[in-house]
């Protein structure tokens, strides 16, 4: 005990005599004289133990922040001592997370302060074998010069006779991990420079969500918020591994379960979500439309739909035109398909009496437009503009038959369309036994109606398919039929996976959108602001005010330079000529037309479909800028990428200049994230970034400043848009950090006197208001940052309206007019939310009404009414042109008005419902490195006999840039692995912990084998099919390494959203590690040969 004896001293003992103190420092004395006679407690306490204090208690300050990983948006408290972050933990005040964090959130201290972060700018000159350090300011100048030069060199004033005012020479990718304010500056500066190829993770993760939810309900975001899950009576989680990918949000599922709700998980694998569910239903990956269609058929054929909800609130009663032909008539095709163009013409899908088709493509049709343009307009991803506002409906009001008996009413069309989706077909296609299927049907039907609600939860398990938008549409149709929209515990919860991926859709770093889901203009002859608006806005609903939204945006971009006389600088906007999605950009890079590339916190060399194509595209660039925490695979492919190993690429031959800029972390910058439920939450900077690390706000602002300074004397008209931009943000602190609050204020908007606006209803089309994103108008109401509001959840009701701010107008459950009957009274006491207060003459309730507050339930529009006034007091879907939820989408979804089951691009099975095998309108990219495989009964399809599905794990984040370098996370899932059933292991001679090689027509990877009962062989079309699970987090760099699953995937896109199909494809698996060097592509080729793969394989309609 001598060590303790000499070390011990009692704090604050100065008052006692020295001798006594010395004596008391001796544990034996304490043992003999104190109460701890055995010497195992108080007496044994050491000096260190006595002086121990929690660093959370001694911190100089606590900064409020938001977790930077997924889109749940958990609150974080950042503890700072001596200007260093010493601890990060959950913020107990947050109504979303209640102080809890998942392992990634718990590892943010290591992420932000750990040694794996880079703090120095690096530069790789052309042909160099290694990096060299570079001064930050020099690097900024070099990038500015390259932007200017490339832009000048590749400037395109017109394309095939139409004005384009753009450059196709520069592209940008990334934004979902960044702040809204950063996304705003990226889009603003690059748009000013004429760059159109601006994309982010939202494209590859949830673009189909925007299409699916937007066309059905009018807005492309989740319909409610996670805390509301606790009010659900039945929760169906399908296409999502909720517990693993959004663990803290999952607490609300557990809360529902504790209250007696039924939790169902439908997923190819038994996951940590299934482990906590009441029911796990395994299905074959990619067959969800067949499954959901089966439930729709059940609901319709047993009259289990919520009649009193369906008739007034949906378009069930609306009559469709006589020319429409269903897949029933055309064996898997709808009317209007153009085989040659591989596109639908939607004229025949429209409502009866709405002679001009309400098609997104046609909405763009302007006077003088050339024939043949339309197809390209459609390719430009217009469906996504329904992120806030459904497609327009022109002409007179469509006819309705509220008895639902008219043979051409939507209800009857739906019934006919889904009649063949029988339980037997569901079993045959999905591998779900009839008895199990019926259990799900029963649970849903029993938990829907006036007294009860069911909710669907999905994520990228639904979005990432060649008909992904329709997966979501199918759930929308079902929820509308069951009356589960706009009501507590109901709706569709879209779980997004990046901190601000909702924000990077709303303030889009996306090629086809302007902020607030305004469409990017398409190139036409002599297009003016007026003709553009006229072609695109809706006659009815809030979208009718599009001109006010667009003019206010132009005023925010170009300030005083934007006047009525110059069309508010509308002509400055670069124009689209088709699809310029991230996958199109890869093709542009391979073609040598796209020469400069910004990667802003995205790692496509691992995370995008067909990783090889991504790298080969980058290898063809003149310059590449990578902004990240660490040297990701997208930064180092030229040095140690897979193509260097195979010999397809050498440093000496590669001429790409690469700049690496270290990025600032969320703890080092102010800004807002928009979570998966549309909540804008502000995070405050706790400390300054170290070394060369800077925020993306800093990077874009100062890059813009430098470019503008270098062009200041230019008289070239192509430089006017960038020189005329408003670009005068106040800077703060020693690093000259632009004020994120000032950017948010610009996004919110102000009137002619500079006074902040408080609602988008104040926006004007006369140029007197400026607003950077109309749906965010109100976030800076009264000059107060509403996103920074943090009233603890314990001091509010469950809506927590004073925590942060949600678009639109702080409404938390969208379409909540539907929580009341048509007459304005609640459906039931148990499910009341918003109702009509007749005495006060306004809507009231717990949430902000998603409705005009004083529009009475009995209001009916006058003949010929337009705009918002044209919607009746019954119509809950105020962003829809007809105010109705769309069971049938006469426009907006490019591959059909009703979801239809097609087999995935690569599938070992034929389509059991139609002779049309795949989605006829899917987008293909035939290329020697993007070969498709034979499917169904085609010869060679059994060369790739297994179904693969890809996914995330709790312990890692997306393409790994924020987790593989973090030791505490790396050790939890240290290596790439594949999950297979014991049956498949036995059949193929695969051993647990051993190695397997997985092969497709694109590539081959190796993975450690995890043999598990959680993988279930399924019986499909009379035979057993095995599924292989592949997490996609790994790449060769960092601490936890492995081959990337995306070496195997193909680029095949959903036509409406341009999202890639990576949730399912087929492959072979064999024991052992993959070959090295040139033998690797040889193996892939040998499989192609065996399967007879040619450039035409899989490309048939």
């Amino acid at each position: 005990m001598t060590a303790a004896a000499t070390a011990f001293s009692v704090a604050g003992a100065g008052y006692r005599p020295l001798m006594r103190r010395i004596l008391e420092s001796w544990p034996v004395y304490r043992q003999v004289t104190g109460r701890d006679r055995t010497g195992r407690g108080e007496a044994a306490k050491s000096r260190r133990s006595a002086e121990l204090t929690a660093r959370t208690a001694t911190a100089d300050r606590v900064t409020k922040s938001i977790c930077p990983y997924c889109a749940v948006g958990c609150g974080q408290n950042v503890y700072v001592k001596d200007e260093k972050v010493v601890q990060i933990e959950g913020d107990p005040d947050s109504p979303i997370s209640r102080g809890r964090l998942c392992p990634k959130g718990s590892a943010t201290l290591q992420l932000t302060t750990g040694s794996s972060r880079r703090h120095q700018v690096l530069y790789r000159p052309p042909h160099a074998k290694d990096w060299q350090p570079l001064d930050l300011d020099t690097a900024m100048d070099m990038v500015a010069e390259r932007v200017i030069a490339t832009r000048k060199q590749t400037w395109q004033s017109e394309h095939e006779g139409s004005e384009t005012n753009r450059t196709m020479g520069i592209a940008s990718l990334g934004g979902a991990t960044l702040d809204n304010e950063e996304n705003y500056l990226i889009k603003k500066l690059l748009t000013g420079l004429g760059v159109v190829q601006i994309e982010n993770q939202a494209r590859v993760c949830h673009s189909s969500t925007v299409v699916g939810l937007g066309t059905s309900f009018g807005r492309g975001g989740a319909t409610g918020f996670m805390q509301d899950l606790q009010h659900s009576d039945c929760i169906v989680i399908e296409g999502s591994n909720f517990a693993e990918c959004h663990p803290v949000g999952f607490q609300w599922v557990m809360a529902a379960k504790a209250r007696g709700a039924t939790v169902i998980h439908v997923d190819p694998r038994f996951t940590r979500t299934s482990a906590l569910a009441d029911l796990h239903v395994p299905l074959r990956a990619g067959t969800d439309v067949a499954f959901l269609g089966g439930i729709i058929n059940h609901v319709l054929s047993t009259d289990a739909y919520f009649h009193d909800f369906v008739v007034p609130y949906t378009n069930a009663a609306t009559i469709v035109g006589e020319e429409f032909r269903d897949t029933e008539d055309l064996d898997g095709l709808f009317s209007g398909f153009d085989e040659e163009a591989r596109k639908y013409d939607f004229d025949t899908w429209t409502y009866d009496g709405a002679p001009v088709a309400p098609a997104t493509g046609q909405r763009d049709e302007t006077p003088g437009q050339r024939e043949g343009d339309r197809g390209d307009v459609r390719a430009a991803g217009r469906s996504e503009q329904h992120g806030s506002g459904g497609p327009a409906v022109e002409g007179r009001d469509p006819e309705r038959d509220e008895t639902l008996r008219h043979p051409r009413c939507v209800f009857q069309l739906l019934k006919r369309h889904y009649a063949r989706y029988t339980p037997e077909k569901v079993e045959e296609i999905c591998g779900i036994p009839t008895a199990s299927f019926e259990k799900v049907c029963r649970a849903l039907v029993e938990n829907s109606g006036p007294e009860r609600t069911s909710q669907f939860v999905y994520a990228v398990g639904w979005t990432q398919h060649s008909t992904g938008s329709q997966f979501i549409r199918a759930a929308c149709v079902l929820q509308l039929l069951l009356g589960n929209v706009g009501r507590p515990g109901g709706g569709i919860q879209a779980l997004r996976g990046h901190a601000s991926i909702q924000g990077s859709s709303d303030i889009p770093t996306l090629f086809n959108l302007l902020p607030g889901y305004l469409p990017m203009p398409y190139a036409h002859h002599q297009q003016t602001l007026e003709t553009f608006i006229e072609a695109d806005r809706a006659r009815k609903g809030f979208w009718a005010n599009m001109e006010a939204y667009l003019v206010s945006l132009l005023k925010a971009y170009w300030g005083d330079k934007a006047t009525k006389d110059n069309d508010f600088c509308f002509g400055y906007l670069p124009k689209l000529t088709g699809s310029h999605s991230t996958y199109d950009t890869v093709m542009e890079q391979l073609a040598g037309r796209c020469k400069g590339y910004f990667l802003m916190g995205e790692n496509p060399a691992v995370g995008s479909a067909n990783a090889k194509m991504q790298r080969l595209g980058m290898a063809n660039l003149e310059w590449l800028v990578v902004r990240d925490f660490s040297l990701t695979e997208s930064a180092t492919w030229w040095q140690d990428g897979p193509e260097v190993d195979t010999g397809e690429l050498t440093c000496e031959d590669n001429a790409t200049e690469v700049f690496f800029f270290p990025a600032a972390a969320h703890t080092e910058k102010d800004g807002s994230f928009t979570n998966t439920n549309r909540w804008l939450q502000w995070h405050h900077a706790a400390v300054l970034p170290e070394g060369d690390a800077r925020s993306d706000l800093w990077f874009m602002y100062h890059l813009g400043r430098k470019i503008r300074a270098k062009l200041a004397d230019s008289t070239d008209p192509i430089d006017r848009p960038v020189l005329d931009l408003t670009w005068d943000y106040p800077v703060e602190g020693p690093l000259a950090e632009p004020s994120a609050a000032a950017v948010l204020a610009e996004i919110n908007g102000h009137d002619a006197d500079g006074k902040p606006l408080s609602a988008y209803t104040q926006l004007k089309a006369d140029g007197s208001t400026a607003c950077g994103c109309w749906i965010y108008c109100g976030v800076y109401a009264d000059g107060v940052n509403q996103a920074a509001r943090r009233k603890p959840w314990t001091e509010q009701d469950w809506i927590a309206a004073e925590w942060a701010w949600a678009w639109p107008a702080n409404r938390r459950i969208l379409y909540n007019r539907a929580s009341a009957r048509p007459d304005g009274t609640p459906w039931s006491e148990r499910k009341k939310l918003v109702w009509w207060d007749a005495a006060r003459g306004r809507w009231t309730g717990r949430d902000v009404p998603d409705f005009e507050p004083e529009k009475a339930p009995g209001y009916r529009p006058a003949e010929g009414a337009s705009g918002v006034a044209a919607l009746s007091g019954v119509d809950p879907f105020i962003m829809q042109a007809d105010g109705k939820g769309w069971l049938y989408a006469p426009a907006g979804v490019l591959d059909g008005p009703m979801p239809t089951h097609y087999e995935p691009q690569d599938s070992p099975f034929p389509n059991a419902l139609y002779s049309q095998q795949r989605n006829p309108a899917r987008i293909l990219f035939p290329h020697e490195h993007n070969r498709y495989q034979p499917s169904g009964d085609d010869p060679g399809s059994q060369v790739y006999p297994y179904v693969v599905t890809t996914y995330r794990l709790t312990e890692h984040f997306t393409a790994g840039g924020m987790s593989r370098w973090t030791p505490y996370l790396a050790e939890l899932q240290p290596e790439m692995f594949c999950e297979i059933s014991p049956e498949l292991a036995a059949a193929k001679g695969l051993e647990n912990r051993g190695w397997a090689t997985i092969v497709t027509a694109r590539g081959a990877i190796e993975a450690r084998v995890l043999v598990t009962d959680r993988m279930t062989p399924l019986r499909v079309q009379g035979r057993v099919v095995e599924q292989i699970g592949l997490p996609y987090h790994w790449g060769p760099n960092g601490m936890a390494t492995g081959d990337a699953a995306n070496e195997l995937s193909a680029i095949t896109l959903d036509p409406s959203s341009h999202i890639q199909e990576v949730k399912t494809f087929s492959a072979d698996i064999r024991p052992g590690r993959r070959p090295r060097g040139a033998a690797l592509p040889e193996l892939v080729r040998s499989y192609q040969d065996k399967a007879g793969v040619t450039e035409r394989t899989g490309t048939e309609v």
């Binding site: 195992r40 050491s46 590892a107 029911l279 050790e971």
Partner: protein
């Protein structure tokens, strides 16, 4: 320092494994708070092939550990539908009815025993019982003798290879002193790990157990809750869904120093007898 022994109730953990989602937030939050060394490089990483468990168990560098048990057992109150598929492959190795499957997850931790053998055998006073009733290693005292390692009936306490000292969960002694809950309990997304006064937790656990039994989860049981067990009950106890052995926990742990007093008494008696004999010999020679 105020003497809180009379007013400070005993604090503990109740880990309800029936709501654990196996996210491992507890493992990470613990390491972050306590600055537990992580793997030094790729070499420190180990893909075990044992379900989703790649940290293996509690040890000097893992003070919270989540076990994953994939089990061919009918899940209580849960259905897995893949089960009824007739695979049509009789005799296929590994084939079985998938309804007979469940995936258990449980976060293990030092039990902070009422009768803690590690503390009993520590010759340096490095281990001590805090005012919260928890058992803590004092890193400034521990000399790495390792006596406590075999003494622990759960195999929890462990020596760190590089410095030789022993390390384990402190129930975040420093945080408790500041009135804060331990890092793991704070992070836990589903409240599987609950921290509080032991008496309150025991009552809550009893209630939860009754609830599960009523819901048909017959195998649910409490582990380490009983003050009459071989270690006098645990400061950190669990609700399990199967036998403790399934989770790698000893079914009936006994404090390894239980027989120490009796052994000392016997050794004393033997020594006395020896001395008496010795004295008799000398006395005899004189005679």
């Amino acid at each position: 320092m105020t003497d809180t022994r009379d007013t400070q109730p005993r604090m503990g953990f109740f880990t309800d494994t029936s709501v654990c989602i196996g996210c491992k937030a507890c493992e990470v939050a613990c390491k972050e708070w306590n600055a537990v060394p992580g793997p030094a490089g790729s070499a420190g990483l180990n893909f075990t092939g044992d379900s989703y468990d790649n940290t293996g168990g509690l040890g000097a560098d893992t003070w919270r550990h989540v076990a994953f048990i994939e089990q061919r057992t009918p899940p209580g109150g849960q259905e897995n539908i893949g089960s009824t598929v007739d695979l049509g492959m009789p005799g296929m190795p590994g084939e079985h009815d998938r309804s007979e499957f469940r995936w258990l997850m449980a976060s293990d931790v030092c039990k902070h025993c009422t009768h803690a053998a590690c503390l009993d055998v520590c010759p340096t006073g490095a281990l001590f019982r805090t005012e919260f009733g928890t058992v803590v290693v004092q890193e400034d005292i521990c000399n790495g003798c390792g006596y406590c390692v075999p003494a622990c009936p759960y195999g929890v306490i462990d020596q760190r290879e590089d410095d030789g000292r022993v390390w384990k969960c402190t129930m975040c002694y420093d945080r408790l002193g500041a009135g804060q809950e331990p890092a793991c309990a704070k992070a836990c997304p589903t409240d599987s790990i609950q921290f509080g006064e032991l008496d309150v937790l025991r009552a809550r656990a009893d209630e939860r157990l009754a609830q599960l039994h009523e819901a048909g989860v017959g195998d649910a049981r409490l582990y380490g809750r009983d003050p009459a067990d071989g270690v006098g009950g645990n400061g950190a106890f669990f609700l399990l869904l199967d036998e403790p052995e399934v989770y790698g926990l000893p079914p009936a742990p006994v404090v390894t120093t239980r027989d120490l007093p009796a052994m000392w008494r016997r050794a004393g008696a033997a020594a006395a007898t020896l001395l008496v004999g010795l004295a008799a010999t000398f006395l005899g020679r004189k005679r």
